[in-house]
Subunit: 424 residues, 2 copies
């Protein structure tokens, strides 16, 4: 791991794959084909990209049952407990319609309505995560979304990982289709004979999925385009090197492009963590990936003061932030930007990935400056409600008309004046 | 105006200018130049596109004062009252940080933090609206955004409309720069020597502005890309034709591509509105624009039943919706998608454009299916907060480790197990 001073922070690298012009063109072609030829195109691309020949795109009841039987009962219980925790946290995010009634009879308000249909992309391959199912679907369900549709690429055998299917069925999602890549995003955005169109698409994916989401954005809504996973750990001399190293590596094992950064005021800790990372790497099954990640994107930033360390972390706006300090709750108010903040020695980041309840779909690549974790509000929209009273109309019509004329919009002025005249 | 039956709804046209490949390339070049050469590039483009040679990009205190003096005192008061109403409505949208503490000592919560800097694009030319200043800036201010920067294109004389400057200064924005088009969006996204970079850009603009917003999205956040203005009026036989016609025309005068649609169960009303629209058109200063809009995008949809009419409106998901019926409050619950809903005979749409308080930046082109009016929440972001207790760690570490291993992430499992071991 590279050890740097705060002043060298610009050497902090993050990897974002924006895709090439060629990839963008390929994605546009896939979208056009799926729009035009529906299921036929989807199946052709699934043969080409996933080497899978599918009879049916939709996962059958039989497949769900087989998946269920293949998983141990105890594992099913753990998944259920995690789902319960995630429901419980997200229930607290629900917002209500509200209104305000003025004495003159006017009512102004905000009506909250769920999105009608949401689509969730669950990646396949080595990154087939049941936790992704929970984290994307549950906020939509709590918001009251009527229909949640899931897509995930099949393996060459035409099958989808059991854990993903069990997680889906456990929370009541049976609208699952075996399709991945840009063709899956196109199907969700525009619909095919089999796959229903939705109003919003969430979930992570490879560069083709990301490019496709960018293309369909506007016709449907999307969540943020996710980059590789990141963690920043803000620690002082109270932290234990072995724990900090373990947490850095838990991020590093995700992806060779993940970034794990320790920001500390303790030179002792920095050195000890560096050694621990090397030591723990030796026995990790995904050591190859984790080593690449740590070498290319890992970093230990030594700061002269705690203020400098806090400032460093705010500049990074990390996806995950751990604060392992003497009084982490006193530091909370000084954090301006972070997707999820883990406080204190017991709050290891993986606790948030699976189990605690808050969402693990978080803003990456510094977008925590302006984005939030996936949440219930992402699956509702608001409508303003305006019921002007006759009295308010009489009192304000002239002012509104003058304002309209200042902007050169005579028809606006007349619409209000006509009414003032009639209803006086 | 075209009169159709509900079954012909597919003939309802909306105009969205996605831009050409050539325009996209031009915008990419502008962004690259501004990124590389800063103010110099901004000034060059301002000469080329706005025919304005500027000494200084920033609006001076003197210019603010001149603008103030050029506006009548009464007009200033009206602007102030409108701003007060807009503040008052948006204050009610503020959301708080919250937490939940469990008996085992765990704390889970959500911390709300404002975005640090926001940029507002205010269009120039015939569409230079002081109301746009209020509607974009006030939600950011209420959210607690530290710095609000405004950009607006100058006329060939190098000046900006007085109304826009007065509105800005009235609500405390003095960071105003005379720059428009894609070069303004690039400057806000990446900063120049003079213009500070921001984290989120809002505000409407022409196709170059829209394309530029799409390009910088991800590096900064943007609001929805706005299409032409729209209104749907849902009315039964209780409505007055002259008022409905006036409201349709107030939308039509915005833009030749605006769409104004009456959805009604009353053939009498439909016919009467058709005539009234033609009659009122004759005396409108912007009759040319309004006539084109009404002819190309205007429509009267006749429905057999009120349910059918409601269904039609929900399929449209209009930006503005007026309900002028016997009991509009009873219809409110049946509206699934609309940017702003105006209830009853006194609630003419222009009231919402300027004065009532709710935001006039609304989702167009059917995006009300998944988007909301611009609001305070658009200028904050949330961070999850997780403080796991030692007891929760002991109780749940094994489950979390098993879940991690199900996903093949050994380092995740070990991070939690290491802690369980040490802190038991």
């Amino acid at each position: 791991m590279k050890v740097i001073n705060k002043s060298d922070l610009k050497s902090l690298k993050r990897s974002v794959d924006q895709g090439t012009e060629e990839q963008r063109k390929a994605v546009q072609e896939i979208i056009a084909q799926v729009k035009r030829r529906g299921d036929e195109a989807v199946k052709e691309y699934t043969v080409r990209f996933d080497q899978a020949v599918l009879k049916s795109l939709r996962v059958s009841q039989e497949e769900f049952e087989q998946a269920y039987e293949s998983l141990e009962g105890e594992m099913v219980q753990i998944l259920q407990e995690a789902a319960d925790n995630i429901y419980s946290f997200h229930e607290k995010q629900r917002s209500s319609s509200w209104f305000d009634s003025a004495e003159d009879g006017t009512i102004l308000g905000q009506k909250v309505t769920p999105i009608e249909a949401a689509g969730v992309y669950v990646p396949g391959g080595t990154a087939a995560y049941p936790s992704s199912v929970f984290m994307n679907v549950i906020p939509a369900q709590v918001a009251g979304v009527g229909r949640v549709v899931m897509v995930t690429p099949p393996g060459p055998d035409g099958e989808v990982p059991a854990g993903v299917l069990v997680a889906a069925q456990m929370i009541g999602v049976d609208d699952v289709y075996k399709v991945g890549g840009a063709q899956a995003i196109a199907a969700l955005a525009y619909g095919t004979e089999t796959i229903p169109s939705v109003d919003k698409i969430t979930g992570p994916g490879n560069v083709f999925v990301a490019l496709a989401k960018r293309e369909v954005f506007g016709d449907v809504d999307i969540d943020m385009i996710a980059g590789p996973s990141e963690i920043a750990i803000l620690a002082d001399d109270h932290a234990h090197a072995s724990e900090i190293a373990a947490d850095l590596l838990s991020q590093a094992e995700h992806d060779a492009r993940s970034s794990s950064v320790l920001v500390t005021t303790s030179e002792r800790l920095g050195k000890a963590v560096e050694k621990e990372v090397q030591k723990q790497l030796n026995t990790l099954p995904r050591a190859d990936i984790a080593r690449q990640s740590v070498e290319n994107y890992g970093m230990i930033v030594l700061c002269d003061s705690w203020e400098e360390a806090l400032d460093t972390v705010n500049k990074m706006a990390p996806e995950h932030l751990e604060i392992v300090s003497k009084e982490p709750f006193q530091d909370l108010g000084k954090i301006k930007h972070a997707g999820a903040i883990f406080l204190g020695p017991y709050s290891s980041e993986p606790i948030g990935d699976y189990f605690a309840g808050p969402n693990h779909v978080l803003p990456t690549n510094g977008t925590a400056r302006f984005s939030s974790p996936l949440n219930v509000d992402d699956f509702v929209k608001k409508s303003s409600v305006i019921s002007y009273s006759s009295q308010a109309l009489q009192n304000n019509a002239d002012k509104i008309a003058r304002f309209a004329r200042l902007e050169g919009l005579e028809a606006h002025a007349r619409a209000v004046e006509t009414r003032k005249e009639r209803w006086k």
